[in-house]
Symmetry: C2
Subunit: 439 residues, 2 copies
């Protein structure tokens, strides 16, 4: 068995055996197989795909490349949520304390932003002192202590995914269902969870722009989850427009605070409650998803979720002074407003353009090692479906990069589609899937 | 412009611009683009191909990565032949002196064997002292002196192809028409030739097993040749069975000597004469290909070609004593004969199996740096279409690797298909193409 033969077989559309998959992945992790062979192999998978048996085995080979978190000493259910990534997608930051406040264990390992989508870890790290770099022991200890942890991937967990993802990211082999599945599910299985709620973003600002592809991914993720003993459900949610009214890092934390304090309504709240409700249902804390949603509404309104968030931030080393007094936080040096030129209605705000604009302002990374500016970002004073009045502000840009102001201003101006007539209603939550879709 | 974007565009089936192709190839040659991005790019080309404009530009970017041989001071036509590689394909070694004997300049840059196919250079180097490592200046000087040179690719010529071929060879991206075309034609254009005769092998022992693919390659090579001012014709020839009756290195030189001395008949002689005749026609030394074939028959029969071969070997530092007295050459330590078990007819000898058997005996390379044993090889006492008589020898194996004897014996036994009835006649020369195929 050689890497050359295995690449050739996948190139020619053959099904790989378990041992061939192990040979490639383990060989790459231990540096016996060079990057240039792995990238050719990944591109062959991009074109020829993998059947369920292959991709499920790939997931398990990833999983077995590292350690697993053992939370079996915790008697309640451990449930996580995973999003495929979007613009303004701050759901995890609201949902984790909310669901934990309902008595569900939430062991959440999140990622960083790359490309035009933001990352939960980067947003959390805009809170001064907030720590996301955990060992498995520290992670487990915090789970025992407060029932929830918001951390990044450690080197101990799924090293194969970490190494292969870095290569996919520079070789245009990210958007492949088997590779996405193995990457997501190996990390989720390593968390030691009982249930998983997936938020599969679809639309201009998501990496999947077509509902058909998002559905295929949903089926595959659910099948791998169920096959490996994790009850898995998936929502397809809209990412044509940014989620909520902020895009950036600290600015998104501010919106999370508002939401946790019950001050926000609209798609961000709706999507968060739906996903949270499903988590409560999977945890057997609610008789139905809708009952879970109702419970979570109360926890947002009565301050319990907000209090849990403060607990998390404290335990993870963050300075809650900034959460309680956001006015203390440093300000961006430059800001610029855009005002509506006419009365009308917002028919859409191109999420991809907004995401790219945020990166330009300093809120995201163009390269893996770029530093993120926590105060850079965009405030949208209205979103799709809202009426506009001439002279009212539509968006405000915040940045420390003066040179980016004009370009981003023009880009955003073009990203916002204002028309005279009221747009048709759109669905934020497009579709729900559970294991019954596999039948 | 980034490598990532260009890989993505080719992955998504887009046509690349000239500057994108230059960015990738020149960036790789100068080490600005890493191997792992180039191999993903090559695999994307394998799947999505390139249109004529792209692949012609790719060829020229390869060509312009190095120097070109300038033979414009030689007043007669410069014509080369190129084979896509086969088992027992020793045509170049007979054809180069033969065509040069007819007064045509033959600047021939050949390759080494890899995989199951042998290489002209390895065969020539089995002649003690024979030198194939030439600078452009040395090559040009020899062309002026004797009108023919049989050399290997120097570092000065088409370094882009050299570097990319090494990567293709280990990433399963060799069998791609645009990549093959750029590789072959850039090297041939760098030779400073006026005309080119292509021998596209097709069948079990060739890398193209389907006639349809071989035809597509023929069209593409001819179109690139003509576009770049080189009159190009192509033959599809059969590589289901080994060409001639020997496979190895020194053993093939022995068959070449016999052929150059007019002692051989059959497919090897027929294919060589046909290709040589076409070269004379392209050089305007014959009024038709057939007239060229007739001239070449005479040059084989009257000893002129043989004398030219001795001249080449002398000038290139080879010891002609071994050519005139082959009995002086070292012998393989082990040999084994196979005798026919029944009367019958040979319906076929699987060329791929024979090629792989030769590698096992030591006549080829499994890895780039493997050493070749010049005396290892296989003698076929009969080939497809011949009658067999019980007890007559069918093949003899020669090797210094005792442990390989039994395995190769069994492999060859199974590779030879003997039946009771006489097989239908087969065509060694399957089809001819010239620029009229582009109309």
């Amino acid at each position: 068995m050689t890497a050359y033969e295995i690449i050739t077989r996948k190139r020619d559309g053959k099904q790989l055996s378990d041992s061939e998959i192990e040979f490639m992945i383990n060989g790459f992790v231990t540096n016996r197989i060079p990057k240039y062979q792995m990238s050719a192999f990944l591109m062959a998978i991009f074109f020829n795909g993998m059947n369920f048996h292959e991709l499920n085995h790939l997931t398990n080979v990833f999983l077995n490349s590292g350690k697993r978190i053992d939370l079996s000493h915790l008697k309640n259910k451990k449930i996580d949520k995973h999003s495929t990534g979007g613009v303004g997608d701050k759901v995890s930051i609201i949902l984790a304390p909310l669901v934990a406040a309902a008595g569900v264990y939430v062991p959440m390992i999140s990622g960083r932003g790359l490309g035009h989508t933001g990352g939960t870890l980067d947003k959390l790290q805009s809170i001064p002192g907030f720590k996301t770099n955990y060992s498995i022991k520290e992670f487990t200890d915090q789970m025992s202590k407060i029932g929830v942890c918001l951390a990044g991937q450690t080197d101990e967990l799924v090293p194969a995914d970490k190494k292969i993802y870095a290569l996919r990211d520079v070789t245009a082999t990210v958007p492949s269902i088997p590779l996405i599945t193995a990457s997501i599910m190996s990390k989720k299985l390593a968390e030691g969870i009982d249930g998983l709620v997936l938020d599969i973003k679809v639309g201009k600002g998501a990496f999947l722009t077509e509902i058909s592809a998002a559905k295929r991914l949903a089926y595959t993720l659910i099948e791998v989850g169920e096959k490996n003993g994790v009850e898995t459900v998936a929502y397809l949610t809209d990412m044509s427009n940014p989620l909520g009214n902020t895009v950036g890092n600290w600015i998104e934390i501010l919106e999370c605070i508002d939401c946790l304090q019950g001050k926000v309504s609209g798609p961000l709240k709706d999507v968060t409650l739906q996903l949270a409700g499903a988590m409560l249902f999977l945890a057997q804390k609610a008789e139905s998803i809708q009952a879970g949603v109702e419970q979570c509404k109360i926890l947002l309104e009565n301050g319990t979720a907000w209090q849990k968030f403060l607990d998390i931030v404290s335990v993870q080393g963050g300075d809650i002074g900034y959460l309680e007094h956001p006015e203390k936080y440093p300000k961006a040096k430059f800001q610029k407003d855009y005002y509506a030129q006419n009365d009308g209605w917002i028919h859409g705000i191109n999420a991809l353009d907004v995401g790219l604009a945020a990166v330009e302002l300093g809120a995201g990374r163009q390269k893996v090692n770029d530093r993120i500016d926590p105060v850079a970002g965009i405030s949208l004073h209205a979103n799709r479906g809202a009426p506009t009045k001439k002279g009212e502000p539509i968006f405000t840009i915040f940045t420390n990069r003066k040179h980016s102001l004009d370009g981003v201003y023009t880009r955003l101006q073009n990203a916002i589609d204002i028309k005279d007539d009221q747009p048709a209603a759109s669905k934020d939550i497009i579709q729900y899937f559970d294991k019954s879709c596999l039948a």
